[in-house]
């Protein structure tokens, strides 16, 4: 793993440079900048509405940005150079860039008309022109990794929430992205199902050197999982640092207030 202090030594894999995002009159992200080193595990925390989901969706190109630049793995995400000038990228460029990024959603978003295995193999077969047999072999490995191999033939409707989410993780991994984005992947689950998903993610963090960005409200998990915490508020990063620093010695007032509320609500950190 790469420690936060080492940033600047290695080339960052994500470089977010003063991006802004408006929804109508409401400014959701406000000249936001940060960098992520390859292999780093980052947790985004902060109050509701602070823009955490939005920045993940922007990285996945599910939203557009109003200004600023994003570099992913050495290339501009939303722009291409033409005649020495950066101009808006076309769909083909976005398609290329998306190969590097995978995302897991809060509500799983499995394809309900496809079996578990077909969910996992669809994208490799279509976008990587992988042979079906190869895709299925690799798909079964991934399902095995998330503990879902025995449900390969099941349909999503037959699964519990925790099982769905584990399949969704396997599906995102099937394209072997360099960067994985996780948006509150446990918050739609019944409490007794949360742990099985977090276990898969712990395993993932330990076994691969993928770069991971994670939005979560589970502070103790963020503490275990992340190399670095970004604390969001009002579309900006208010404080950042190693989990130990942020959780035990928050410097900013807003961070302190947020953590106090979380603890009052009964969470252990």
């Amino acid at each position: 793993m790469v420690l936060a202090g080492e940033i600047g030594v290695v080339q960052p894999i994500i470089k977010v440079d003063r991006i802004s995002k408006n929804f109508g009159a409401f400014q959701c992200l406000n000249e936001l900048s940060f960098e992520v080193a390859p292999g780093e595990k980052i947790a985004l925390i902060g109050p509701s509405g602070s823009g955490k989901t939005t920045i993940l969706r922007i990285l996945m190109t599910l939203e557009t940005i109003n200004s600023g630049h994003i570099e992913v793995d050495g290339d501009q995400l939303y722009h291409v150079e033409r005649n020495g000038q950066l101009v808006a990228a076309d769909e083909a460029h976005l398609h290329r860039m998306r190969q590097k990024i995978g995302m897991v959603f809060q509500l799983f978003n499995l394809f309900p008309h496809k079996s578990v295995l077909d969910n996992v193999t669809l994208a490799p077969i279509l976008t990587k022109k992988m042979k079906r047999a190869d895709a299925e072999r690799r798909g079964m490995e991934l399902l095995d990794m998330v503990g879902m191999a025995d449900k390969a033939k099941a349909m999503p409707a037959q699964l519990s929430g925790g099982q769905k989410q584990r399949v969704a993780i396997a599906r995102a991994l099937a394209l072997s992205p360099k960067i994985m984005l996780f948006d509150e992947v446990t918050s739609a689950l019944d409490p007794e199902l949360v742990e099985e998903v977090l276990n898969v993610m712990r395993k993932l963090a330990a076994e691969t050197d993928m770069t991971m960005l994670l939005v979560t409200h589970e502070m103790s998990f963020a503490n275990d999982f992340a190399d670095r915490i970004l604390f969001f508020d009002g579309g900006r990063i208010v404080e950042e640092g190693k989990p130990g620093e942020i959780f035990r010695h928050p410097k900013q007032e807003r961070t302190q207030a947020f953590l106090k509320k979380i603890i009052a609500a009964g969470q252990r950190i």
Binding site: M60, T61, L62, E91, H95, R98, Q99, I101, G102, M103, F105, L107, N109, L110, F111, P112, H113, L122, A123, L126, T127, R171, A172, L175
Partner: protein, 218 residues
């Protein structure tokens, strides 16, 4: 006026010939409407504002005006600009265009009912737009539409008598022709009603089955 069974058997073959044309027109009209609806939906979703607006307005216009007048238009006005269509073809085109604006609404509802998360998951899986439509959107959106589509095709079946206005010899026109030469209206018109009722009731049973099998668009 008395009901005359002998007369009924006498005119039956002519009416059956009319039923054949009626069913043919319905099937061809349905096929065309299914395609026209798709074209309208895709055009209305087009990024090109001129295309989406124009098609949107045309569809509204066709949906807001009577099919009968549209049929007159196709049959009697289009020849002035060199488009001369045989009666049945003109009728099928009229039915297809008119009902295409309805099927377009069904498609739209079906597509809009698909959760946004499915589009986003497809993007996160890096599928191209065409792949997204084929593998993610269509397979989920079409089955729930089937009952609503079938419903419109039954409605179209019941509107085929309009084709008599453009000289297609379908069931209603056959009946009128019989009535004209015999001065008897009770039997032919009642029989037409019976034919429609029977075929509709059979279709409704089929429709119930489709609804059970595929569910329904809200």
């Amino acid at each position: 006026m008395e009901w005359d069974w002998e007369f009924v058997w006498e005119i039956m073959p002519m009416l059956l010939a009319g039923v054949r044309i009626t069913i043919l027109a319905t099937i061809l009209g349905s096929a065309l409407a299914a395609v026209v609806g798709l074209v309208i939906v895709i055009a209305r979703r087009s990024a090109n504002r001129a295309v989406s607006r124009t098609v949107g307005f045309l569809a509204e216009f066709i949906r807001g005006t009577p099919l009968l007048v549209q049929l007159y238009f196709i049959f009697y006005v289009l020849p002035d600009i060199g488009i001369l269509l045989p009666p049945l073809l003109a009728g099928v085109i009229g039915l297809g265009l008119h009902y295409g604006t309805y099927t377009a609404e069904v498609y739209r509802a079906g597509i809009e009912n698909l959760p946004r998360g499915q589009w986003e998951a497809a993007k996160a899986c890096n599928l191209t737009p065409v792949q997204t439509w084929i593998h993610v959107v269509m397979p989920q959106a079409i089955p729930p539409m089937i009952p609503a589509l079938a419903n419109y095709f039954i409605a179209m079946f019941k509107e085929t008598p309009l084709l008599s206005a453009i000289t297609v010899l379908e069931l209603m026109n056959q009946a009128k022709s019989v009535a004209n030469s015999s001065y008897r209206y009770i039997e032919p018109i009642t029989l037409v009603g019976v034919f429609f009722l029977v075929i509709s009731l059979i279709s409704v049973i089929g429709l119930r089955w489709l609804e059970k099998r595929f569910g329904r668009v809200a």
